[in-house]
Symmetry: C2
């Protein structure tokens, strides 16, 4: 059904198998920093117009691959498609971030929630299949979802937040309701990711973008437990191929040991964590993905290259059983000069080959 994969370095690194270079992709690589993305978005009329059209989603997913020799593609979509399909009414205001028409803050709203009919997310699975075909085996395609906790943050807050007051109030005052939301989210996310895999995703990533806002103790109970539930229910194989699963927790460095035992093949890290320390701590339990500060990309290309080398040095030369996927520690900024990305990708490929030759 799909063409054979030509560059499997990303999948191999996820599974801690040897590669001839360190694979690299960038969170939010199909995005506003690319003029061609802005042009397509203009045509589509809105962010959701892009995301709900398999043709547009395919077009923008492939745009960064035309510019840069990235080692993976990631489905163009949003982490909030699942609560949207639950009927909460997702929209994006210009320059404002996501908003939900309905919020989930009381017993009645929680009781009304249901695992969504996957048919409502058909546009995502169609996009996955369309992108996979268009990739034609060039690089693997990553599917994704928000984590149960991260989805719950938006469902309760109704949008972004700078203090997470509503969701934490519910969590501390009515932990029983919070657990019901999270269990439901976990079942929905698992079904959603499995459907992406069936549609053609070759790896899946769970974005726990807001796990790091939780207190120690609450993180384990309200975030990690439900990411673990998702990972336990997501296929590890499809069509005879292993499907690597990545768990990224922004601000999760303090809990790395526990995150590494949550059932993922790969743990994504933000830039606050030292990559060498992280590698020593996880041993051969998981591969690591990350973790350059996206703001490094505002420095001149020579400085970008130096920071990339420092990060590769911090991980150290690959050895059997280790795996590193180079990435940013967060989504790329819309203000990033694309030619600085060129320098980054080139340096990661060049220097990581040199590391292997020296080792």
């Amino acid at each position: 059904m799909f063409a054979a994969l030509q560059n499997d370095s990303f999948l191999r690194a996820c599974l801690r198998q040897p590669t001839d270079h360190t694979p690299i992709w960038l969170m939010r690589q199909a995005g506003r920093y690319l003029p061609e993305y802005r042009a397509t978005r203009e045509q589509a009329g809105s962010f959701m117009g892009l995301a709900t059209s398999p043709d547009f989603a395919t077009e923008v997913t492939l745009q960064p691959l035309e510019r840069f020799p990235l080692d993976a593609a990631i489905l163009f979509s949003d982490i909030l498609t699942v609560p949207d399909a639950m009927g909460l009414g997702l929209s994006f205001q210009q320059g404002e971030g996501p908003k939900f028409a309905k919020v989930v803050r009381d017993e009645a709203a929680v009781a009304a929630l249901q695992v969504p009919d996957l048919d409502k997310l058909r546009y995502v699975f169609d996009a996955v299949t369309s992108i996979r075909r268009a990739l034609n085996g060039r690089v693997p395609l990553i599917g994704f979802s928000g984590s149960p906790w991260t989805l719950a943050c938006y469902m309760v807050e109704g949008g972004g937040s700078d203090d997470y007051r509503q969701v934490k109030s519910l969590m501390y005052a009515r932990p029983d309701l919070m657990h019901r939301i999270l269990d439901l989210n976990a079942r929905a996310v698992a079904a959603y990711l499995n459907a992406q895999i069936e549609a053609g995703a070759q790896a899946v990533m769970v974005f726990d973008s807001w796990g790091g806002v939780l207190a120690d103790g609450a993180f384990q109970q309200f975030s990690l437990a439900y990411s673990r539930q998702v990972l336990a229910a997501v296929k590890t194989e499809h069509d005879g191929q292993r499907i690597p699963r990545i768990l990224f927790t922004k601000g999760g460095g303090l809990w790395l040991d526990e995150i590494a035992d949550a059932g993922a093949d790969v743990v994504g890290l933000d830039w606050t964590m030292n990559l060498g320390t992280a590698r020593a701590r996880v041993g051969d339990r998981v591969a690591l993905q990350g973790n350059l500060d996206p703001n490094v990309l505002f420095a001149p290309p020579e400085a970008v290259r130096a920071q990339a080398r420092a990060l590769l040095d911090s991980f150290g030369a690959p050895t059997p059983g280790s795996g590193h996927i180079f990435n940013l520690g967060h989504g790329i900024s819309q203000f990033t000069p694309p030619e600085h990305v060129t320098a980054l990708v080139d340096e990661v490929h060049r220097y990581s080959r040199q590391q292997r030759a020296a080792g």
Copy 2:
């Protein structure tokens, strides 16, 4: 000159001396969650109107002590008084946070910066003396400043930020300029804190509110090194009394070991760090301050009490050489019901006495 201190539990805990209960105070305890604060602010006309008037500053500093048996008072002021005195023009827009009229983003702006004349900060030192007198020995008075890095964030960004793009761009592109700003800030902050001590502050705290946004490596170089420079230059004694120094780094848990060696007597922690783990890691190097999630205070009083006990249990019974000051992991929210604070302070006092009796 000042009345003898009646409740020295805070100072003793800072210096890791035995206390009969765990002292508690709350970051931003004089603030908008108190109706009496809102009334005084109305009178003063603005936040800076409050902060620049020693009478108003004294009034609001003492307000939370009238309601709650807190174990310390903290100067009512802002972390940004120093760059304001440098001539950058601080203002607070309604509901917007701080703004500077001038930003520091290029060589010329950096060259124009100077350590401010401390006379421009006379209103702060006058407030310190006035508050100390009004306290009349009830509890000790804490002075404070933003850290060199945190001040630099605001000076370069011109206000708050959600990505720190400007300050990190400068840091990665022109580290030489960044170091010049930071060195100047460190000298200014040290002089400022020493003047607060001379005016009557009995402990001082450095707020590295934005240290946690830095990448590993950059944190040590651009934030911690300059907090260390400040701490090395701040008096450890005044009038025959030890002056404890507290360093609080929001999001600094991953760097706890290094922060504990920066020269502070006390390390402040946010809620992401497990307090028992932190205690084991720092041993008897420093006391710890923290670290309840301020959002716990939105739960009903019984749940607040349970979370307070869990946190005290996590630290464990005090032993010789250990010290814990109970606090939030960040400033108290303006939406907090004051009666929940009553429950928190009561439970910390009650349960920590019980812990000592059981031990």
